[in-house]
Symmetry: C2
Subunit: 217 residues, 2 copies
């Protein structure tokens, strides 16, 4: 309680540290200094030390950081140390892609259901995950302790669906619809908006900039 608020910039970097530490672990590296890690990740050693110190001292003077220990601690910070049940609303290509994707983080995210309103999909399975109809959703949420819902829907339906999800006890929404759900949902629900189109537009901007600088063609 009364915990220090960690800046968004720091939180944004944590998953990247987590990924690099995983790769180091796979490569059999036991310890690493902020200096070495900074070279690999192309950030400053100072930033790494500052970031980590937001959460307490994970390193040791004269030694550096133990890779396994540091990774475990970051996992805890990110809440990856326990399973989260997740459902996916929208069983199209993106929904199905996420169903596979979320398994990546082995013990953290369990996709327990896909929902769609296309009756042709009813009772089908994606891997071992059943596709259910939207009208089964409230009942399903009542029976199962689901924390996270991924939304891969047209934006017209996303806001109403978010409402339904919140009413039925969902605590986190991973939103792929073209709208900013966090402006619509109560602050007691975590929201991450993934706007793929924005990413593509930034790529387009960068491409255009390279052209204008004469670095292309």
């Amino acid at each position: 309680m009364g915990q220090k608020v960690i800046s968004k910039a720091v939180i944004k970097r944590l998953p990247r540290y987590y990924r690099y530490l995983g790769e180091l672990l796979d490569a059999g590296v036991e310890r690493i200094s902020s200096g070495e890690l900074s070279q690999q990740m192309k950030v400053t050693a100072s930033q790494i030390r500052q970031d980590l110190n937001n959460f307490g001292g994970f390193g040791q003077q004269g030694y550096g950081y133990n890779v396994y220990y540091l990774r475990t601690e970051i996992a805890k910070i990110l809440g990856l140390d326990r399973p989260h049940k997740m459902i996916i609303i929208g069983a199209g290509n993106l929904g199905q892609a996420l169903a596979n994707y979320a398994k990546f983080e082995k013990n953290s995210f369990h996709v327990v259901g896909l929902f769609d309103n296309n009756k042709a999909l009813k009772r089908k399975m994606v891997r071992d995950i059943p596709i259910m109809m939207i009208d089964e959703l409230p009942g399903f949420l009542q029976k199962n302790d689901v924390e996270i819902a991924a939304l891969t829907l047209p934006k017209e339906n996303a806001i109403d669906m978010a409402q339904i999800l919140v009413e039925n006890g969902i605590h986190a929404i991973w939103n792929f619809a073209h709208t900013d759900l966090n402006l619509v949902v109560p602050k007691t629900v975590a929201v991450q908006n993934v706007h793929l189109s924005e990413s593509l537009m930034r790529l387009s901007y960068n491409l255009k900039t390279l052209e204008e600088e004469g670095k292309i063609k």
Copy 2:
């Protein structure tokens, strides 16, 4: 030439302005002030005016901004005013999802081919887009003027594939593999990394924080 470098923070916000302006346009709104827009987008009016002024004066004192004009100008800045040919490497669920997705921006991104090494997919079509084999890729790039490649591959293959793409004249990579391609590819190629797992981890962090603050359950 010798153009002012625009900060990443500004570029990151442009697509969001573009989206809101599109919605205003659909709603038949003709003009808007930075103050009104700031309320809708939950940012400061000051930031909107500062951001836009990086590119020149799009507004008019006492009037505000013409929605259609401003949107058109932002489109130009982002390079959305001309078509970009795009291919997708990896014809799994994510690749196919992107094939539909990229069409969203009507005249900006044309997906002209999907590539995979799964022979079962050979010669299939996704919508009107042919799936081709990876070994056909260099020939295809030689014949077609493709600027952008989306990469939906396991990370093991992504780096080699990026190399091949760059050698064959690709200028922009939209990377969905779990690795930082921008650290690997020459600076004359634009890269946007989309790390979905990082987004999910941030969601998990926010969820955990809400729990700890006692706002859940």
